[in-house]
């Protein structure tokens, strides 16, 4: 398509298509603002994007290349008296670093050979030795790692003759999926750069529902919460039904857990007494025992040992509030990956007239010297575009405009393609949230999400595993110890039952929560969106988009519902969405009222059920005690005799 010119006047120009920018774009366009939304990249969502396998390899390659020296174009001819230009950054590589790629599966399909014991017992050894560690895009560091890997491999091969392996002879050899197959089926992968989940009562879900943007996507429930403890993966009981069915918990523990959860719904004096003190201490003093303490701290509150009590309780309440809305866990995940979400908001913006242009950037911001306000932007083709407001992703802001007061923090990320679930169950289609407490003092707590193929993020027969933590060292340093323990890689030992890692990627990404939104030396009508943060939910991005919107349009509604196309009445050429928005609202209120009553009824019924179950438990206990009493009495009798 020939380079068609853009219109030269907008209300809001937005650069970057990450979640925050896209939500803001939808919000502005929805209330009638003229929006131009551009992104320098050829894909949507920036650091929030998801990629097919080959798309990800391209992304990796791009981030290995030395960024071209920034050569600022001279646009002075486009400036008028009293104006100056703030140049924006051209390279977006700054936010990603320490990329390392490993491939632990064979390059090509192997010939099907007659099963051979030696090969079987070492599992992937034969494949490993010819493994294409690190694809072409290998860094220096990767090279070093590779050597280490090789050394360990040799050691293992020497140990092979131990007879214990013979026990496994009868196991059928599952043929490992080769690198060639991953490439061939590459479009079945949708690999997110960011790993988050949607709290079913979080602000993202609320916004998707409120705005009707939810019609552009589909979601799946996270089906279970797992935790890693004493070198084992365990399922965390979540719903009331889970708790009752749990075989890990004793009857007494079940009762304690129920009591505890019921009691923390409301804030009490007792809880307030612990304000400022660690949640762990609060939990300890409830005498819950190690099991429950672990579940409550790491898997339900998902906080660390020194998180203050009030924060721990708030997280616990949030978790409880989110349970049961759509399923057995508090989380949803979008089919095709999180990268869909920003795109859905972009579609909403476009439907309301927003103009979209990928592979197109803004070179500079034209500032009026007297008022210190942005008057226009100059795009990468040298077109001057007038605008009243400019919203920009942090990554485009040149270093000289950042106040260095807040040191940049990083997230450590790993993405694994594996050949099995870390906790196999009846169904091979589980979506699991896994909490991994620090494996040693000083190590970060790791959040892990395991996705199955029905989420449309990986090919059948594989699982896509995302690991995230606050970085202490490089992503490899932070996360490979966890990977090595929980999965089978050439570096791991005695982990024949763990799923194998076929391919993996490590990288660090700037932590958006470390970037003060106001920490920039920019005109007041330029708004900076920080990139993804390390939280599990999406609160930061949504809050930021809403706050930018409210600064510009304090009177307007943020993302009001888009009309349902089925309700739009076509009247000649004058299309109107069902005349009275009022009427619709009244109707909705009626429905909401009914729903509320329905919900309340359900809640009461649930509570009744709960009480009944508790009664049963108590009766059981009573029986047990009675039995015990009888035994004791008998003993008494005997001694008396």
């Amino acid at each position: 398509m020939a380079a068609e010119d853009l219109p030269s006047e907008f209300d809001v120009v937005i650069l970057g298509t990450g979640l925050t920018e896209s939500v803001a774009a939808a919000a502005f366009s929805r209330v009638g603002q003229r929006v131009l939304h551009v992104d320098r990249r050829s894909y949507y969502a920036g650091n929030w994007a998801s990629f097919t396998f080959s798309g990800l390899l391209t992304w990796i390659q791009q981030h290995h290349e030395e960024p071209l020296p920034e050569e600022a174009q001279d646009w002075s001819s486009l400036l008028e008296e009293g104006e100056e230009l703030i140049h924006l950054s051209h390279s977006d590589c700054a936010s990603i670093r320490n990329l390392q790629v490993f491939c632990f599966t064979s390059e090509e399909d192997e010939e099907e050979e007659a099963p051979n014991t030696t090969e079987e017992e070492t599992g992937g050894a034969a494949e490993d030795s010819e493994c294409a560690d690190s694809t072409e895009e290998e860094t220096k560091e990767t090279g070093e790692e590779e050597e280490e890997v090789r050394e360990e491999e040799e050691v293992r091969e020497e140990e092979q003759t131990t007879p214990s392996a013979a026990l496994r002879q009868s196991e059928p050899t599952k043929k490992k999926i080769s690198y060639a197959q991953l490439l061939k089926e590459g479009r079945r992968f949708n690999i997110d750069l960011v790993s988050k989940l949607m709290y079913s009562r979080g602000s993202l879900v609320d916004l998707l529902i409120k705005s009707n943007v939810s019609r552009y996507a589909e979601f799946k429930n996270v089906t279970r919460i797992l935790t890693y403890r004493d070198r084992q993966v365990e399922q965390v009981p979540c719903s009331r039904a889970d708790v009752f069915a749990s075989r890990q918990l004793s009857v007494v523990e079940k009762r304690k857990l129920m009591r505890f959860l019921t009691s923390c719904v409301e804030e009490t004096e007792e809880q307030r007494a612990y304000n400022g003190r660690p949640y762990l201490e609060f939990l300890r003093d409830r005498q819950l025992g190690d099991n429950l303490q672990h579940f409550l701290l790491h898997s339900i509150a998902m906080v660390t040992e020194d998180t203050p009590t009030e924060e721990g309780l708030a997280s616990t309440r949030h978790f409880l509030r989110c349970l049961g809305r759509y399923g057995n866990t508090p989380f949803l995940f979008p089919v095709y990956g999180l990268g869909e979400i920003p795109q859905c908001f972009c579609r909403m913006c476009a439907v309301f007239g927003g103009i979209y242009c990928l592979r197109h950037s803004v070179d500079g911001v034209v500032v009026d010297r007297d008022s210190n306000r942005c008057k226009a932007v100059i795009d990468s083709r040298g077109q001057r575009i007038t605008c009243s407001h400019f919203v920009v992703e942090e990554g485009y802001v040149a270093a000289d405009r950042k106040r260095v007061a807040t040191p940049t923090r990083f997230l450590s990320r790993a993405v694994l393609i594996t050949d099995g679930s870390i906790l196999p169950s009846d169904s091979d289609q589980q979506v699991s949230m896994v909490t991994v407490p620090p494996i040693a003092a000083g190590c970060p707590a790791v959040k892990m999400v395991e996705l199955c193929s029905s989420t449309m993020t990986c090919m059948p027969g594989t699982y896509l595993v995302h690991l995230t933590c606050q970085s202490v060292g490089s992503a490899y340093e932070d996360l490979s110890p966890v990977v090595t323990r929980m999965f089978r890689t050439p570096e791991s030992h005695d982990q024949e039952t763990c799923p194998s890692v076929l391919w993996c990627l490590y990288f660090n990404m700037t932590d958006g929560s470390g970037l003060e939104a106001e920490g920039h030396n920019l005109p007041s009508n330029v708004y900076v969106c920080s990139g993804p943060d390390g939280d599990l939910g999406h609160e930061l991005a949504i809050r930021q988009a809403e706050s930018i919107f409210q600064k510009i349009l304090p009177e307007e509604d943020f993302c009001p519902p888009a009309p349902n196309p089925e309700d739009i009445i076509y009247d000649g050429d004058n299309t109107s969405s069902s005349a009275g928005g009022e009427e619709e609202k009244e109707e909705n209120d009626g429905v909401a009222e009914e729903e509320k009553q329905e919900e309340e009824k359900e809640m009461l019924e649930e509570e009744k059920e709960m009480l009944e179950e508790e009664k049963e438990m108590l009766e059981e206990e009573k029986e047990m005690l009675e039995e015990e009493k009888e035994v004791l009495e008998e003993q008494n009798l005997q001694t008396e005799e």
């Binding site: 949507y44 019609r215 979601f219 949803l332 990928l358 589980q430 888009a562 729903e595 919900e599």
Partner: protein, 203 residues
């Protein structure tokens, strides 16, 4: 919501260069009119038309690009759950025909494997300005195993036929799939898909 009053629901998605007449095709079919000037209506996401085919009610949900094709910036999610794609070019514009392979690449990347694709040459009322010969387009469509049809949104030529043919094809495929998948029971424990998140819990 009212009782679902149809036997089938299909999502049909239009793609192709800007200006080839996609929006006009949709509006001609759903509203029976040919809008003057730019046809897009602000705030309209998709259009609905229910048709009857051999006694069965088929609800067609027809999605337009929202103008994102203008600068080659269609979101992937636009293609995701489409049952059928209408790939449109303008017979009076060679360039719109030459871009077809690019569109096919997008389809291959993002659309469902089973998607039904139909190639449409629009604006046949402008026969004297034709730049793409019918035979050439037919050959191209055949090579890519697509259906092919020429239309005029302006004169309402073949527009009804386009959507009805698609609906027939989609019903045929749906019946075939049902036969093929008869014995695959749903996976136990498989996270259920929640589309159209709504304010009440969906159980």
């Amino acid at each position: 919501m009212s009782m679902e009053d149809y036997d089938y629901l299909f999502k049909i998605v239009l793609i192709g260069n800007a200006g080839v007449g996609k929006t006009c095709l949709v509006r001609r079919f759903t509203q029976g009119l040919f809008p003057p000037g730019q046809g897009a209506t602000i705030g309209v996401d998709f259009m609905i038309k229910t048709v009857e085919i051999k006694g069965e009610k088929v609800k067609l949900q027809i999605w337009d690009t929202a103008g994102q094709e203008r600068f080659r910036s269609i979101t992937q999610s636009y293609y995701r759950s489409a049952n059928a794609l209408i790939l449109t070019y303008d017979i009076t514009c060679e360039d719109s025909f030459r871009c077809l392979p690019e569109w096919l690449r997008e389809i291959e990347q993002y659309a469902n494997n089973q998607v039904v694709t139909i190639l449409v040459g629009n604006k046949i009322d402008l026969a004297e300005k034709r730049e793409v010969l019918r035979q050439r387009a037919e050959d191209f469509a055949e090579a890519q195993s697509m259906l092919y049809l020429e239309t005029s949104a302006k004169e309402s030529d073949n527009v009804e036929k386009l959507f009805l043919d698609l609906a027939c094809e989609l019903i045929r495929e749906a019946k075939q799939n049902k036969l093929d998948n008869n014995d695959t029971a749903p996976m136990p424990g498989e996270g259920k898909t929640i589309s159209y998140l709504s304010c009440c819990s969906l159980n």
